[in-house]
Symmetry: C2
Subunit: 363 residues, 2 copies
């Protein structure tokens, strides 16, 4: 009878999008409104004929935008009356958010229509709904949010996690972060054997909290049979230095580090602008250097590296910046597509399961 | 008999430097050697006729440098045969470091010849010797290292502490950091009523670790009678934003944030350099913009903001960057002079004592 049970599962791609890799998109979460999100979908659809979308939100608003962007044959619209606001409390959304576009977008991952969902909305609410509806992978205690940092690596980016899913992490959580981060680097950045570093205040053995020392032991032990290399402790300055492809830390430290780096980059951009407006000569220089400066801005603008990824759930969620414009949304969709195409959700689940098995045997 | 006991105390400025504000300087700790340190002293001496120095290190090496820089009448040399290396273990230096220039420099603060010492040497060893020889101020559980950040503040800088004295801090330590940071901002940056922020992963009340919530209560309660304003939680991005003059955090988070910001600034400088070398047009632009770019480099170069300050001890220690050149050393000495002139060590002690009194009454 097993095949029948399988057939009854609410799985698989809707027939209208057969043959496509389907991304579930919360169309209402962006600060810039649904027009920016649909425009981002259209940019991605144009570049990649294999993408299909399930768009969640107010159908009356979305349909004209979809028609305007010639996306009718590439997407399905799922009507959702409500929108999660940026200041909504996660606990409230979890109880009363069933009619929101965010909830509906996650539901498409839950029922197997898509393996990855994209939302620009409220991070806390997105994580809360994802936890409740998708549930944690067996063997994962704390899901994590992974983000990409500009780095001197060959790929130009390093993965860091957790950057804010949970403020705490013990040594076993940090081991899971290492495994999940390695899997993400393999599938999202095509790094076959990622180098993992553990964030600390120094690289000497005796430094740091006791859970870091314990995590160091667990990660080093897991490395040989997990296709990653453990490079030891790394410091804050090593994150952009390319010393590791994946930087593992707790969500408190990771969140502070991420926001500090963004704040620093933003201050330098501002001072750079001031420097170039300072004299007539420097204004001329700015005109001559305009393309070079644009190239720099592109490389260091956090919006270009758009998409924090929720790891450790049954399904993958890409969180785009709330202020993302069409280009930003398109970048998040590109990442979601790449992960969906690689079968990332299943691979990650298998990886975590294989390594958590010995753990379950432990007292 | 009390006056006699007082007269016997090994206090006060050596007669050769009578009338000067005396800074005790570890002349051997810099990566660039004693020549850079003595050159830095000479720069400061030239700018400021009120400074006198006690230089600690190998007299045979120091004397010719002092003669060359015309510093003979502005300083005393204290011969110390040994040097603390950058990779020396703090615990080892604490046991066997009595003959080092670093130990000797701290000893001058201990015996009252100077109220502030400057060293470019090994941070861990410097903190360890300072703890043992100067002892903690009554009421202080964990001393802290405070540093200055480029900021959008009126003064151009914000104070952050702890950036690495201790990896842990409970709510009472964080309160002490707030008091000490406020005192530093008042005496070092001349901010009469500093705005204090507590570093967290969000500004909402419910965010963060339990000790942060407890610290928030204590700091807010202390604010009205401590001449500072408490502005609430701040995030990583707020550090350079000018939202607070003093940012309070534990030494683990503070150290990661500081090094992450330095690493980010360094990556952007590198990418900026690449951008300007990219085309002939951008090379010409770089030539035209050279003074503007230098101004920017000056503003964002961490070496210009030279001097982490150890707070919470009987005496003040300024830790200069190990790689500081004469300009960097001179910046650290300027800060040390400013603090010594303001009577900072005594003021800080009084401030901590007045606020820790109610604490000692508590169960």
């Amino acid at each position: 009878m097993k095949p029948d049970v399988q057939a009854d599962l609410p799985s698989a791609v809707p027939p209208e999008l057969a043959g496509k890799i389907v991304i579930s998109v919360d169309a209402m979460g962006s600060d810039k409104g649904p027009a920016a999100v649909v425009a981002g979908c259209a940019m991605s659809a144009k570049k990649n004929p294999d993408i299909g979308f399930i768009l969640h939100g107010r159908e009356a608003e979305l349909r004209p935008l979809v028609v305007k962007r010639h996306l009718l044959d590439r997407c399905i619209i799922r009507d959702a009356a409500e929108v999660v606001t940026m200041d909504a409390k996660p606990s409230v959304v979890m109880r009363r958010g069933k009619d929101t576009s965010m909830w509906s977008a996650i539901e498409s991952v839950r029922n197997g229509e898509a393996t990855v969902a994209v939302s620009c909305g409220n991070t806390g609410a997105l994580m809360a709904i994802s936890m409740v509806r998708l549930r944690k992978l067996p063997g994962v205690n704390r899901p994590a949010i992974a983000c990409l940092w500009p780095s001197r690596n060959d790929t130009g980016y390093a993965v860091m996690l957790d950057v804010g899913a949970d403020i705490r992490a013990d040594e076993r959580d940090l081991l899971q972060y290492a495994l999940m981060g390695a899997s993400y680097a393999r599938n999202g950045l095509s790094i076959e054997r990622p180098r993992i570093g553990l964030l600390n205040v120094g690289t000497e053995e005796h430094k740091g909290h006791p859970e870091l020392k314990a995590a160091q032991g667990l990660i080093a032990e897991a490395a040989p049979h997990s296709d990653f290399e453990y490079v030891g402790y790394v410091e804050g300055g090593d994150i952009p230095r390319g010393k590791a492809d994946v930087i593992v830390t707790d969500g408190f430290t990771g969140n502070v580090a991420l926001k500090t780096a963004e704040g620093t980059a933003s201050l330098i951009r501002e001072l750079l602008g001031q420097a170039f407006r300072h004299t007539i000569l420097s204004r001329i220089a700015a005109l001559l250097a305009v393309t070079s400066l644009r190239r720099l801005a592109k490389r260091t603008d956090p919006r270009r590296v758009n998409g924090g990824v929720f790891l450790g759930l049954n399904g993958t969620i890409v969180k785009s910046h709330g202020s993302a414009d069409a280009t930003g949304v398109s970048a998040a969709i590109k990442l979601a597509f790449q992960l969906a195409q690689a079968g990332f959700s299943d691979r990650l689940a298998a990886r975590v399961a294989s390594t958590s098995a010995p753990r379950q045997d432990m007292p």
